[in-house]
Subunit: 344 residues, 2 copies
């Protein structure tokens, strides 16, 4: 091999939108695999929106790319030299190859591909990370039911395109959101979504509302921004939002306490994989027998104590209520309206 | 009965904080129960923060109180006259008695109480709606594990006090947030929480951080506002937020697109019982065998299609990546770095 190793280094961290100046192309010697290692020649580099986060210095779910180091990322590669008995020359793999032509691996995080089963490029696509992202997010969190309405943003993208197709397989009605008429046509005509709305159309909000006459049961969130703002008011009771990405926010800078408070909140929800779920007690009245059994026994045994704040006389109800909203009560607030003959 | 029926009517709807002027006390004749109905004499009126929402004209999970009608709400009552064979004079019940001394019911939504088991007032407290709210929200959504840190706001309140005690029974470490030193002392000394922080202390944020050295696994959200802002950065990976109430926001008015965007978002999340859950694909790699089986078969059968957007040459990677963030790609974005010998 008289070749060199072309590498794209992270030269500087972007403020807001990244530019070409943030990257630097260098050529270095092709590395030599050590004991137990093997040399990979990159065939396909995968480019994914999550990589924007790796350009920042802030903590995220993955370590940031270091300045002066190759940009992080996965790819499809072939083993060209091996000191590892489990990987042979000519093996095709998915690996964290980074943005470079050659890389050395010890096998950690590497998965072999069978080129007979599917094109090897699908190992970073429909049969790889974007595929399982769509599959897990939709089925584990979105849980679409037959006849429900599923909305997918970035509908023609690597993840969104698969989300919508799985939702169709599960019998849902699927509405895509994409950024051009051409993408929308592809999503409907080729992928079989029921409808697709172009978020760049001036009447996008109206179009989306018409596309979802029964509201939205699952919104697979890839983009954030104005698309989220249009989707959210249409969400149905008991709907689910798998929060996969917020491309529209990735280049956001500025004060997270100002208008960016909601995007910053979503960023943390995603990175920390937090579950936020609104609930109302009466939805859970199926638990009443269990609740009365447990709580009755806990109250009886003194394991659960309670305090009542009893205001005398119905005349005083409004004042007591206003105080409740300010936290002036101390314990469960009650108004005694008439005598309690059972109280000793 | 020479008594009259004292009723608190909703006289006007509040803008922001309610005032005494929003209510009007009237006296009317005690109503007569019709066929199959019975007359209830209110003993205890329950006052709960959710009632603030009923004063608005906007749609919520329950119908608003009508202007000129008694304020809505539950209470404990005794049957004083009955034309219904299932309810006898002297029976104690929980019912939607509204803010009034007497009410007529046909039995819908009424639950009988046994005064031998517990004080009847607990029927709107620890053994009633606040109790099951705490029980369901904590156990079904919060799912606290032994040794995890559970934070409860409005910790001395009707719901919060029970949440914390159940979390202790389940073996969690429990930190309360309350609005006075006296409430905090009660929560720790009487209810057995591990710690309690007063949100009115100037160094509340620091105190909360120190109280949660291992972060927060479950935050039972009752209040919103500055308490939420202090709690949220401490949330751990995979943490859960049962969204029960946002007392601090109930009197909020103004533009939901401005600084109120986040509170407005939370309001909708609650009212519609929406689940929002951040996720990252590699947390779900346990699904890999299922995923490869399903997706392999769907791709093979043509039920799932995919599109690749292949950019030639590693030199073009940064430009392609910048385009990806703007949605310029069409399909899964790949950079071809070297030949793919498997591609025909």
């Amino acid at each position: 091999m008289t070749d060199m190793n072309k590498q794209w280094l992270l030269k500087s961290r972007p403020h807001g939108e990244p530019t070409l100046d943030n990257f630097e192309l260098v050529e270095t010697a092709i590395p030599e695999p050590g004991e137990g290692e093997f040399l990979l020649k990159t065939i396909y580099m995968s480019l994914d929106p999550y990589m924007r986060g790796r350009m920042n210095d802030s903590k995220s779910y993955a370590v940031s790319a270091e300045l002066g180091e190759p940009m992080s990322g996965g790819g499809i590669a072939v083993v060209v030299k091996s000191n590892n008995s489990r990987y042979n020359e000519g093996d095709y793999v998915v690996a964290m190859t980074k943005w470079q032509g050659y890389s050395v691996s010890n096998g950690e995080g590497v998965m072999k591909l069978n080129p007979e089963l599917a094109p090897i490029s699908t190992g970073v696509g429909v049969l790889g990370m974007p595929g399982i992202t769509a599959y897990a997010g939709l089925l584990e969190i979105g849980k679409p039911k037959e006849g429900e309405t599923v909305v997918v943003s970035a509908a023609s993208g690597a993840v969104g395109s698969i989300v919508g197709q799985i939702a169709k397989i599960k019998g849902s009605r699927v509405v895509g959101v994409a950024g051009s008429a051409e993408k929308c046509a592809y999503v409907v005509d080729e992928l079989g979504f029921d409808l697709c709305v172009n978020y760049k159309d001036p009447d996008f909000v109206e179009q989306l509302g018409k596309a979802c006459p029964d509201g939205i049961d699952v919104y697979f969130e890839n983009v954030g921004g104005t698309v989220f703002d249009a989707v959210f008011p249409l969400m149905n009771d008991f709907s689910r939002i798998p929060l996969c990405g917020r491309i529209a926010n990735y280049n956001m800078t500025g004060d997270p306490e100002g208008p960016n408070k909601l995007p910053a909140f979503f960023g943390q929800m995603l990175v920390k994989r937090i579950t936020l779920r609104g609930f109302i007690s009466f939805d859970h009245y199926n638990l009443l027998p269990e609740f009365l059994r447990d709580m009755g026994s806990w109250v009886g045994s003194g394991q659960v104590k309670y305090k009542e704040d009893i205001v005398e006389g119905i005349e005083n109800a409004p004042e007591a209520f206003l105080g409740l909203l300010k936290g002036k009560n101390f314990g469960k607030l009650l108004v005694q309206v008439s005598d309690d003959p059972t109280r000793k």
